[in-house]
Subunit: 319 residues, 2 copies
Amino acid sequence: MAVYTEVTDDALRAFLAAYDIGEVVAFRGIAEGVENSNYMLRTTTGDFILTLYEKRVNPDDLPWFLGLMQHLSTQGVNCPLPVVARDGSALRLLADRHAAVTTFLPGVWPRRVQQAHCAPLGQALAQLHAAGASYAPERINALGPAGWRPLLERSLSRADDVTPGLGAELTATLDHLLAAWPRDLPRGQIHADLFPDNVFFLDGQISGLIDFYFAATDILAYDLAICLNAWCFEIDGAFNVTKGRALIAAYQAVRPLTEAEIEALPVLAQGSALRFLLTRLYDWLHVPEGALVTPKDPVEYLRKLRFHSHAKGISAYVG
Amino acid sequence: MAVYTEVTDDALRAFLAAYDIGEVVAFRGIAEGVENSNYMLRTTTGDFILTLYEKRVNPDDLPWFLGLMQHLSTQGVNCPLPVVARDGSALRLLADRHAAVTTFLPGVWPRRVQQAHCAPLGQALAQLHAAGASYAPERINALGPAGWRPLLERSLSRADDVTPGLGAELTATLDHLLAAWPRDLPRGQIHADLFPDNVFFLDGQISGLIDFYFAATDILAYDLAICLNAWCFEIDGAFNVTKGRALIAAYQAVRPLTEAEIEALPVLAQGSALRFLLTRLYDWLHVPEGALVTPKDPVEYLRKLRFHSHAKGISAYVG
């Protein structure tokens, strides 16, 4: 929920003059995304999203993100297509921020996940992975296993404020995961943050995947594990195997998992739960003065982490 | 900046089934307005705004607000037109909130006010006042003079935390204003909150006036005084008489001010500055836990109040 940077009329007009997309007709801040400022931009030629990249995004990564979206879009993935200015650049400056215009995608993200959402999601995720195979540039996943220990260390001294014993539990889990982390699984471009608010549906089909600003080159099945965490738990904390089965089966219909991937799923799901637990824990303990965003409760992901720690194999996810 | 209430897909679909405006195509939270939750809603028939009324709005007032917008729109004012459901109602329930669908207005609100904005604004304000004359129902202005003393009393004990001596200064100003407040000026329907973020421009013309949820039946020239405060001061605190002259002249070209209104302008401008100072002071001193909105600095309006206290007549505003 954010609009951090205001754009003056003059600055917007000057910015758009570099593009061939017509004149401004409407311009409204969108209350979505916590990392960047997003505007719905209507011009005389159509609808777009204008994104201003705020300080949490490393500017050096932006060409990789925009290149990935352009590549995936060309391959038929319903994701935002960066609009190129007349000089050929998709990344420009506006209001002292890096900024990009992308196409507007229709659809509504599901506020309450239904079983019917999970098969289209699994299919779209596998299609994203397939389409990403021909995008050669790589980006290290800063929030992958190598990033977890430094992240934990920044919260460790106060972790027990959230739940007694949390610091010791996370340290032990991290030690275990780093030792058990699979090394030879298929890798590629992953979204790495495919939560419901990043997936638009229209008439029961996926009309858009958005927010590629955590995307990276990493284990493909790890992306599936992130979706298991983000889509298949009920509000009461129970894992819904019907949703898990729908998600995994639809994924496999496009890209069958290897034996090694199937075997690694519980570890990957633990790692994914730990990753979101660690960033939420950090945000929870470090709410900035005057924050515009309420941090998400880290305990939700502690429960998920514990579920995966007890999972004996893929049957925990598909029944 | 807000989206306080989430709407599930099922609830949205059920809600829209009561209307003849087609099926949902897109639905995005808008980061504007601090009082209510607003969504940009695209259907198969067009674009709309869906508003869910949050607790700061009195539900008993909603029919009056919606009736006013409908009336003004019919009279040619570019304001949101409430969309009526098949059963004839414009006000319905969604996600445990009162809710309404209105038409989407194009345009961009000016992040930086230019002189060129002020004449269209003055004209639009006078046209709004003229169009409102045939809307018979009245609404007491809860934030008019009778509301100022109770509002001050809720902040008085801590007012000096903001600026030493503020409590005494505001008490003296209030006493003076209530004694000097004009009694026989022309009254009618006023917007009462026509700040730049409530006025959309397109090609130099006003394309939309929005957010009528402070509108009330009150002194018409008080609305003009609110605009003098909201549009004609520079960032350094100086009043810009070129902007003031453009605003007042364009207003008068549609609805000439009476001698008594012209004479009362400094007092009305003081009252308007005090009204926004008092609500900002209250919000500043009462930031709720986990607030999503940074309160606006009340001192800006203290400076404006002092300027008007020294104004000798309309020449202070038109040079």
